[in-house]
């Protein structure tokens, strides 16, 4: 499906190959979808920022168990956030306490907690023994960590990458909400998307920079030239005069990154907006060859305008959870989109060739 836009290019809408509505019994409603993780068998895990828990679902959307609950103790959430799967372990971040809770996926029991640096965790990849975590460091406190290496056996955390230099440039008052780092890892290679940058950066798994690939921008907002302005925290005097659009609506934020079986990198960006306090996000999928010569930019991933969707990638599928009102009945929906080159004008585009 395609429709026109103001740039004169057609926006290609992805179409889901699968759509289910989650079973939400009275005891397990979904209040506000937060983060999503998908297992190889199609089961999925959704954090609920409103109900302070993570719920696991089977591939049909039937709840199978819960992880954590509201509170301030071990395994209890005050801000259920990022979730990831490490084998038989579900990792769930409580961004309020900056603890990563590790639950046994089968029993729901808390295995242990690991203190995490920074403000929030956004992304994780693992080779089994090591995990790489993309996060937002406590920039306002001089902590500029962006990617840490986590030894799963010892729980030791080693800083691998610092936030890009432009964040230092606005120190001591960076607006850290844009400093997210998203990553994926394979064969000792790390692909990292830094927030407020329009590039994909490749590193060795030890943090040595290999290459930087420019990301094409076709329909999404991209990143403004004046990044310093975007990254600088508004002053107390400016805040009452600023709109949400002026702050967060000025750029696209990464939402997910993955590597397809054929080696192509898939990236999801979100253009967020707000209407009377309700934040929504328009999602864009970009495919990119590792050498940067081929890309398929900014196909739109349709999602509900009722809130901000949760997004996850697994192999060549994109999973999106959002909420919709159907005849005044609130439902939570999972849609699966294939990640392939359909709708890419029949061929790949080169960045120089107008993509």
């Amino acid at each position: 499906m395609a429709c026109g836009d103001t740039t004169g290019n057609e926006v290609v809408l992805l179409e889901p190959t699968r759509e289910i509505f989650l079973d939400e019994p009275d005891s397990l409603p979904v209040g506000m979808p937060g983060y999503l993780a998908v297992a190889g068998n199609g089961a999925f895990y959704l954090s609920d920022a409103m109900n302070h828990r993570v719920v696991s679902y089977d591939p049909r959307g039937t709840p199978r168990g819960t992880f954590g609950r509201a509170g301030r103790g071990p395994g209890e959430f005050t801000g259920a956030g990022f979730v990831a799967l490490f084998g038989d372990t579900l990792a769930a971040m409580d961004h309020a306490s900056r603890q990563m809770f590790l639950f046994d996926r089968r029993t729901g029991d808390l295995v242990r907690s690991v203190g995490m640096p920074g403000h929030q965790l956004y992304s994780a990849a693992t080779d089994g023994g090591t995990a790489w975590l993309g996060l937002i460091g406590a920039l306002d406190q001089g902590d500029f960590r962006a990617v840490v290496k986590w030894n799963l056996a010892t729980d030791s955390l080693e800083t691998l990458l610092q936030a890009p230099a432009e964040y230092y440039a606005v120190s001591p008052s960076p607006l850290w909400i844009f400093a997210s780092a998203y990553l994926t890892e394979w064969n000792d290679t790390l692909a990292v998307l830094f927030g407020a940058r329009n590039t994909l950066e490749l590193f060795t798994s030890d943090g040595t920079l290999l290459s930087i690939v420019e990301l094409p921008v076709l329909h999404r907002r991209g990143v403004p030239e004046d990044r310093k302005r975007v990254l600088t925290r508004p002053t107390a005097k400016e805040i009452p005069t600023l709109t949400y659009e002026a702050v967060q609506g000025s750029l696209s934020s990464p939402r997910a990154i993955g590597r397809l079986p054929d080696g192509t990198i898939a990236v999801v960006h979100a253009d967020q907006t707000a209407e009377r306090g309700k934040v929504t996000a328009q999602l864009w999928l970009t495919l990119l060859s590792l050498d940067g010569r081929w890309s398929c930019a900014d196909r739109q991933v349709p999602a509900s305008s009722e809130g901000r969707p949760a997004v996850a990638m697994l192999r060549d599928s994109l999973y999106v959870v959002d909420q919709v009102l159907l005849d005044n009945d609130a439902r939570t929906r999972l849609r699966v989109f294939p990640i392939d080159d359909r709708g890419c004008a029949g061929s790949w585009n080169t960045p120089e060739g107008g993509s």
Binding site: A49, M50, N51, H52, Q120, P240, T243, R276, K278, Q323
Partner: protein
């Protein structure tokens, strides 16, 4: 004699005046938030106020409450863990009506002494009496926990509203009310959050300063509500019910 003859604890948990915090990013920035009109507001302009000292998370020990006509300042004088006397029912900087302060202090004392709940009666604040929805609740139940939410505060992803809703579904005497009719956008968001409200206040005569939350002896800012435990209030409710049955 059933406890209902004696015990009337009305706790009004009000969450007013908070700007919406619809995103974790915005919320997590801490010192600014998105207001309903789309502009940004500072936390200080939202609801950070001074609270009476004895409410600030202090563990309040039991105080004997024997007479409904007793001077609330005297009867609610109590002690902290170190034994220091804390008088918590004077007119605090919040400007609470004395009757409401008495209610709050009564509950704080009762919660701290759940094994021997002391009961009393007190005059309801005029604004409760003036609200038909609240007055009806108060007259219908021995112990009522009422949470009043401003519709825009319901979007807070760290809010505890859902938990209270869960307790309500479990049959507790917990009532969730909205301070005003939600806008159409808010109404959609509330439906998506699947939190059922019992009523919308028709008489908006709440004190302006009622934007702090009272839970079991502590005044808690609404944006930290996620960490507050309703357990103490549950204990109070349970104890009260058991007490009534045992009599």
């Amino acid at each position: 004699m059933r406890v209902s003859r004696f015990f009337l604890a009305v706790t009004v948990l009000a969450v007013l005046g908070f700007g919406a915090t619809p995103t974790q990013e915005a919320n997590a920035e801490g010192d600014w938030r998105i207001r309903d009109d789309g502009l940004l507001g500072t936390a200080s302009s939202a609801a950070v106020r001074m609270v009476p000292r004895c409410f600030r998370g202090a563990r309040v020990r039991s105080s004997r409450l024997s007479s409904s006509k007793a001077d609330p300042e005297r009867r609610l004088a109590t002690h902290d863990e170190e034994g220091q006397e804390m008088t918590c029912c004077g007119d605090g900087p919040l400007g609470f009506p004395k009757g409401l302060l008495a209610a709050l202090c009564l509950l704080s004392s009762a919660v701290a002494s759940c094994n021997s709940v002391d009961v009393t009666e007190f005059d309801l604040p005029a604004w409760v009496e003036g609200s038909p929805e609240l007055a009806r609740l108060v007259k219908a139940h021995d112990t009522v926990v009422v949470l009043l939410y401003s519709p825009e505060a319901c979007f807070s992803c760290g809010g505890g509203m859902a938990r209270w809703g869960k307790l309500k579904k479990e049959g507790r005497q917990i009532h969730l009310g909205l301070t005003r009719q939600p806008t159409s956008v808010e109404d959609r968001r509330l439906k998506l959050a699947k939190v059922q409200f019992d009523f919308v206040l028709s008489n908006r005569s709440l004190p302006e300063a009622m934007d702090l939350l009272f839970i079991a002896g502590s005044l808690v800012r609404a944006d930290t509500l996620a960490g507050a435990r309703p357990r103490s209030i549950l204990e109070l409710l349970d104890t009260t019910e058991e007490y009534g049955e045992s009599r």
